[in-house]
Each structure stands twice: as structure tokens, then as C-alpha cells.
Symmetry: C2
Subunit: 182 residues, 2 copies
């Protein structure tokens, strides 16, 4: 982050002009409301829909107040997502239908979901659903593959999963191959 334009000496207020390339540039970040997975369906459906950024400073103006927000790089899957996006915060990766071998089950995840695409259409797509069948009395959310949902005749989800964000780590062996998915 540059501080070009920083006023000097006697004047104590820095005046900074945003530059192309600064993270605050409207096109370089995506801001999404965050739900806790424990909050279940209610919280996912309650989160604001409008999350597009506007104007010179990329101010996000939601249609309702919300406490919890996350800033993501404007990765391609979320780049055009101005409505309906939500980041669901899971405490571990057990909720994902992929093979555990190479994954740290204790790793928290953000599952970025498009609530505007609820219909289960793609066999190889992934969807956010209410997970009831894991011997847990508590309603929880999980991610399920389209083909599995279709086998159970589930036609509607809470939204389609656009991407899964894992926390930062120092090494980079995070290329996920097809074989790691169930």
C-alpha cells in the first residue's frame, strides 16, 4: 500500500490519492457478507443480497445492515457477483465431499455461494445444502455434489458453490486434482 501524496511535517493528515492497482480499487476486491455455518439456513437466507461496490471508492452498499464481512481478491468466480453472494464460514473441512487424505480436517473454510442459483443442475457442480444425515441433531450446513443430490431427488439447494477459500499457509502444494474429490 503506497502513501503517495502523504502530507508532510506540520500537517498531520495524510491525503492519499488512490492509484490504479491499490486494493481499494473497485475492480480488485470483492466484499461479501459472511454467515456462520452453525447459523444454518436462517442466517444464509438473512444475509444481504446486494454487495456490489459503487463509485470512486468502491463503497459496498447493501440493502440491509450486516455485521460480518469478508474481503476477497476479485477471483474470477466472484468477479461478477453483485447480488446473492455469501461466504459461509465453516470451522473445518469435513463438510466437503472430497477425500480427506490430503486435507487438514481442522482447517477452516469459506464456502462462497451464489444464492441466486439454487437449482441443482450440474452433476459435477457443488451445492450448499442442509446436512441432516450425519447423526447430528443440530441442523448444520454442508456441501454436496450435484450428482449425489440428484440421486436423492434433491432439486433445490441454498445456492451453488462458486469457490472454496482455504486459509493462508506458507507452502503452495494446494493444487487439487480431480481424484481428490469423491
Amino acid at each position: 500500500a503506497g502513501t503517495d501524496g502523504l502530507a508532510v511535517s506540520a500537517v498531520k493528515v495524510p491525503v492519499v490519492r488512490m492509484k490504479i492497482g491499490e486494493v481499494a480499487e473497485a475492480t480488485s476486491v470483492a466484499v461479501l457478507p459472511v454467515c456462520r455455518a452453525e447459523g444454518g439456513t436462517v442466517e444464509v437466507e438473512d444475509a444481504p443480497w446486494e454487495c456490489g461496490s459503487k463509485g470512486d471508492f468502491g463503497v459496498v452498499e447493501a440493502e440491509k445492515g450486516w455485521k460480518s464481512w469478508v474481503v476477497l481478491p476479485r477471483w474470477e468466480p466472484v468477479a461478477g457477483l453483485n447480488r446473492g453472494g455469501v461466504a459461509v464460514a465453516f470451522k473445518d473441512s469435513k463438510v466437503l465431499p472430497w477425500k480427506a487424505s490430503k486435507w487438514n480436517q481442522n482447517e477452516p473454510l469459506l464456502v462462497v455461494t451464489d444464492r441466486g442459483s439454487k437449482e441443482v443442475v450440474a452433476d459435477d457442480g457443488f451445492y450448499l445444502v442442509v446436512g441432516g444425515g450425519n447423526g447430528n441433531a443440530e441442523e448444520g450446513l454442508k456441501v454436496e455434489k450435484g450428482s449425489a443430490l440428484k440421486e436423492s431427488s434433491v432439486k433445490e439447494s441454498l445456492g451453488s458453490v462458486l469457490m472454496v477459500v482455504r486459509p493462508p499457509r506458507d507452502d503452495y502444494d494446494d493444487q487439487i486434482s480431480d481424484e481428490e474429490w469423491d
Copy 2:
């Protein structure tokens, strides 16, 4: 923004591991609630105080819901600001007590203010105050220099101004010298 870890072919959900240096890294951005200057004192005081980011993904958790947020690079003046910060959106720069010559008066501004420092202490500091004396019946906010406030025996402000953010522009002649301030 990198998409390292992007899953390929049949799997439609990219899995991205955040990297050090990505904008979403907790230490690289600051997220602040935004008030409209037209909203006056009420809106400034109503905005949430907690705006620190937490956990692996830098999720911002405010103590109350708020509609409007801005993401700024973690410039030094806002780097440690986890409580009390607010960005006040002004439609033009007339609210600032500096000389107009080199400034575009129609330029919108964000005035980043620390509501935790209301006391007018520094002569050469700048403070967010209610601006009544500009022939305008409407209550509005403006920025005033500490020395001017002291002359009027004003001891408390809405907060001290940490920085002023100007919108992006293509050229970079934005170094503000002391002489441009009144």
C-alpha cells in the same frame, strides 16, 4: 489476484488457498463503515465501532449491522484502527479547510475519522465537526483545523481526521504541500 489452486476440468469449484500478499490477507486491508456526510452527527455516531478483522480470512465482525462499507489499503494511519474508525463520504472537497486553487472542488472524498479521539488537542490537527456557519440551513459535516476550533473555544469534535482519501486518477501530481492548507 492469483488463482493458484484452481481445480481443473470436471470439477467446477475452484479451491483457492490465500497467499501472503493477497489483498484478503488480514494485515493488508482495512474495512471501515461508511457514513454519508449528509447523514450528519446521527449517522456518524450510529455507525459500528468494532471493525477489526479476525481469523484466517480477516473477517470483519462489527458489533452491529451496517449497510455501507469501504475497503482501504492498510495505509499507516488506519493500520491500527480496530475501533471507532469511520469513513465519511463527502460529495465534494469544499468541506476541507485548504486552499482551493489546486483542488477539484467537485471531487468526492472519504474523510477517515477516529471517533475515539474527539478532543481538540493539536493546533495543526484536523477534526470532523458539525458545520453550521456556511449559510446552509441543513446540518452538515465539515473538517476544521484544530487551531480554528480552539479560537472558537470548541473543545470536542466528532473525531480526529486520520486521513483524507481522494478518488483514483491517472496522473500522480497529488503531493500536497503545506502551503495549500489555509
